[in-house]
């Protein structure tokens, strides 16, 4: 938590901030795009501001927009958001030993603010969890400084995007920038043949099942893709290593 003096007075807080600085323009540009895309896809300014301030997860925000606009039921939107966020579940397993000495609310607070870039930079700098209280505080301060800059760049740029969105004519179709963003993240996750198979199956299934009510095509597509990939792993164990 960047508001705790023990953390922000620590040298490592500023080191974390400096390490994130080269990434900040990219984060801000993406935030700006997300802000514009939210409003251009049909959300109100109040909704877009609430989403920016509360959700703080670009990919799940962008994935939720078409579903919100289509009037999908809440559980479908939340389940989709959770699936898009599952990479963070993997990160949390990795971060666990670094944070377990803290009270639960502080752990969850750190977790909330630690998005992709902070996770990568933090685990790159600290290969092992701290062994002494001093080391642990140092790591905690680094993490807090790092995600403070990430969070503030994201929030400010998103709010700016929300503000600017109404100046841009709707015919430009800027909501599509959000889809391109998700497409880029999708490419970044395509790190193995099995994952590409998962994406291909889910894409086809989502189109084929499109006319299911309640946007259930999304849920069906995820389930079909995951079950199929796990089945392929069972039949051909070699594919498991390749994943």
């Amino acid at each position: 938590m960047f508001f705790r003096p023990t953390l922000y007075r620590h040298d490592e807080f500023w080191q974390g901030l400096r390490d994130l600085a080269p990434q900040a323009p990219g984060v801000a540009a993406w935030g700006l795009m997300t802000g514009v895309a939210m409003v251009k896809s049909g959300m109100s300014v109040a909704e877009a501001v609430a989403m920016t301030m509360l959700v703080f997860a670009g990919s799940s925000q962008l994935a939720a927009i078409p579903l919100l606009v289509a009037g999908a039921p809440a559980w479908v939107i939340l389940a989709t958001g959770f699936c898009v966020n599952l990479r963070f579940v993997v990160f949390s397993l990795h971060l666990r030993p670094y944070l377990m000495h803290l009270p639960r609310w502080q752990r969850m607070c750190h977790g909330y603010f630690t998005a992709d870039i902070s996770y990568v930079l933090f685990t790159r700098r600290f290969h092992q969890p701290g062994a002494s209280p001093d080391e642990r505080t140092k790591q905690e301060a680094y993490l807090a400084g790092n995600y403070f800059l990430n969070w503030s760049s994201w929030i400010l740029a998103s709010l700016l995007g929300v503000g600017l969105a109404n100046l841009i004519p709707p015919e430009w179709g800027l909501g599509f920038a959000g889809i391109l963003c998700l497409l880029g993240i999708q490419c970044s996750l395509a790190s193995s043949r099995m994952r590409i198979l998962s994406a291909a199956v889910a894409g086809v299934a989502a189109v084929v099942a499109y006319h299911l009510p309640l946007k259930l095509n999304i849920v069906v597509a995820i389930a079909v893709a995951v079950i199929l990939c796990l089945t392929v792993e069972k039949i051909r164990p070699a594919s498991r290593e390749a994943a």
Binding site: G26, A29, V39, S44, E47, A50, M51, L54, A57, S59, S60, P66, L68, G81, F82, C83, V84, N85, L86, F88, V90, S92, L93, L95, R96, R104, R107, H110, G111, A115, E171, W172, F176, I179, L180, L182, L183, G184, I185, C187, L189, A190, M194, A199, A200, V201, G203, V204, A206, V207, Y210, H211, I218, A221, I222, A225, V226, C229, E233, A243
Partner: protein, 111 residues
């Protein structure tokens, strides 16, 4: 101006809870624990499946009907975006390159 409704705000609050749960999933409980093996394996495949399920229909369909014309800016913008991603491995470049194809086709040719 788009309207605001309570239902949407509630879903947004729910998505915030989803962010907290996903990002602190394994350190919410103080006891060490593990997911069953199938669920751990599923974590490999679910995120990309979820993105693909949202993204692909937005690129190749109009309200769920496959596009019937090649004069659709989204197809070329998405193709350009994928090429740009694998060229630079950067999500921001993907967006910029895709929009650089999308906007001229849409505004210039009306695709």
């Amino acid at each position: 101006m788009n309207g605001t409704d309570v239902w949407t705000l509630t879903v947004i609050a729910g998505l915030a809870v989803v962010t907290v749960l996903a990002r602190s999933f394994f350190f919410i409980s103080s006891r060490p624990w593990q997911l069953p093996d199938w669920a751990q394996r599923g974590l490999q495949y679910a995120p990309i499946a979820a993105l693909s399920a949202v993204v692909i229909p937005e690129i190749i369909t109009v309200q769920g009907e496959l596009v019937s014309t090649w004069q659709d800016a989204r197809l070329y913008a998405a193709a350009m975006g994928v090429v740009a991603y694998f060229w630079r491995r950067d999500v921001l470049i993907t967006i910029l390159a895709g929009m650089a194809v999308y906007l001229p086709l849409r505004l210039g040719l009306g695709w």
